[in-house]
Subunit: 309 residues, 2 copies
């Protein structure tokens, strides 16, 4: 099962970190973007080629020390079809290098529409006489607001294709409470959502005791994460909000069990834009070293997390 593959990779690397591949053109060193702008002008094609070249170099430097990457599809949809081409190539390359790919797509829809998303993102589509995979993520993220009708079609494909999902429970942003913290039956809404996720998890539990159905639980809310860990004992956590958004390693211990398993922590900017950070700028002087700075940031994050878990 995919969740067991993820846990194995975390054990093997000793690193519960996922690198968020959320590139912005501002992060890309001139020697890359200049090459493509010279060739294609200031076009979407040049942007797409630059994004992919940037990601590729990052992947080359980190694939042996992290279990997974999490490309954020919005950063590619920003550039339309050209951007999505870089997204698809990034997924393919990361998988070639043995990384698990969590597509951060946060899709939400119902019934036959959710099926269509699932065909494209996790499973395969019927294309006349053929069955063809497109995005072919290992995991994707989903939004629960529409209820089981929006999740069930994905569960079917998780079973059929050995894939996984992470459903939003409590997000890491400042205003996440506007809806997620509203009190219902005496508890905040995100706990109710946690109960639903736990129910969805039940049928897809792997050999490590965790399900193909995981949850997104923000690092900026440690008390809430603790409570969600209790409500969802078989649910693996994908934790955004570490670093740039203010989440600290100390606060994350509650997401893990006594064996140090139970969650994977995302960092995006903190790793892929490490070369722009004062902390790494001097040691990784020269723009060609940007991916080496990312590698060092991964090692530092690993040590920071292991100190606390």
């Amino acid at each position: 099962m995919m969740i067991d593959k993820l846990i194995d990779k975390i054990k093997q690397t000793g690193n519960p970190t996922v690198v968020g591949l959320d590139p912005r053109l501002e992060y890309i060193p001139d020697f890359i973007s200049k090459k493509y702008c010279d060739k294609y002008g200031a076009t979407l094609k040049a942007a797409s080629k630059s994004l992919y070249a940037f990601n590729k170099k990052i992947i080359d430097e980190i694939y042996d020390i992290v279990p997974a990457v999490k490309p954020q599809i919005a950063m590619y949809e920003r550039f339309g079809l050209y951007g999505l081409k870089a997204y698809v190539k990034t997924i393919k390359y990361a998988k070639q290098k043995g990384l698990i790919v969590i597509g951060d797509v946060k899709r939400s829809d119902i019934a036959s529409t959710a099926e269509a998303y699932s065909d494209g993102h996790l499973g395969e589509a019927d294309v006349f006489a053929n069955k063809i995979k497109s995005f072919d993520h290992d995991f994707i993220t989903l939004n629960p607001y529409l209820g089981s009708d929006g999740i069930n079609p994905f569960l079917k494909d998780c079973k059929k294709f050995e894939k996984g999902i992470f459903v939003l429970a409590k997000t890491s942003n400042p205003n996440s409470g506007e809806i997620q913290d509203l009190i219902t039956d005496g508890v905040p809404l995100y706990e109710k959502v946690g109960e639903l996720i736990s129910k969805w998890s039940e049928e897809l539990i792997g050999e490590n005791g965790f399900s193909e159905v995981g949850a997104v639980v923000g690092a900026t809310h440690p008390d809430q994460a603790k409570r969600l860990r209790e409500i969802m004992p078989h649910t693996f956590f994908l934790v955004p909000g570490y670093g740039a958004q203010g989440g600290k390693a100390e606060d994350l211990a509650v997401c893990f069990n006594k064996d140090g398993i139970g969650a994977i922590v995302n960092s995006s900017r903190g790793i892929i834009a490490a070369h722009m950070n004062d902390k790494y700028k001097e040691s990784f002087n020269g723009e060609e070293n940007f991916a080496k700075a990312a590698r060092q940031a991964v090692i530092d994050m690993k040590n920071d997390l292991r100190r606390c878990i």
Copy 2:
């Protein structure tokens, strides 16, 4: 403002119907798909070409009698980059024919990620020295679960580019109540979301008294729609669930004001697959007539709605 353009088009056509362009390969007549399969085999490229050819013929038959179309992006993402190419071409062609395009994307993310989605779907992206539009929808749908952080970046682009959004309040699916109907402060969650949407609406009200910020309100819950109409007086409704999902014209009157303005009702399958429906099969005999059946289904829906509004 885009909402005024939509209302003008509704008045001009006398038809508060939006045609859901949610094609499935099964709907596409053989004479279309055979042409492309002969040329490209049973490939994603053949699927993409077939989807676009199908949509184009539907648009040609309906553009003068409806104000808008609503392509559901999932039906295209199912086929990866090839599918999305058909999606982009469909948007472009529909706009050329004077239709307003509501992209049913139901995206959800926060802060700089939501900005990236907004750049791609409503606004424009900074591409080195240029600013470039990609999907360039007139409206898109959004999921509110992440709170204001997930909506504000889109509001900025609504203002800057005269675009609109429809935020999910109450969806039309059977299990929508699992989360949306949970009682909080004595009222169901969707009413709380309605209050938030109403707040988001306030700054972007056009000359007809409606805002660029609309709401998705399912046709399958008339009592709830009535209450939401009261909570959100300046919010235009996008209403799914008519026809195939069980929503009836009688139940929709509550979504409109006394001038018959206030909502646009979606039908997808009921229109674009009318040629497969017993009601239209005989009169529109011969597969070349599929789009004429869609036109008749639009006229029938218009009459059904006008009977009640």
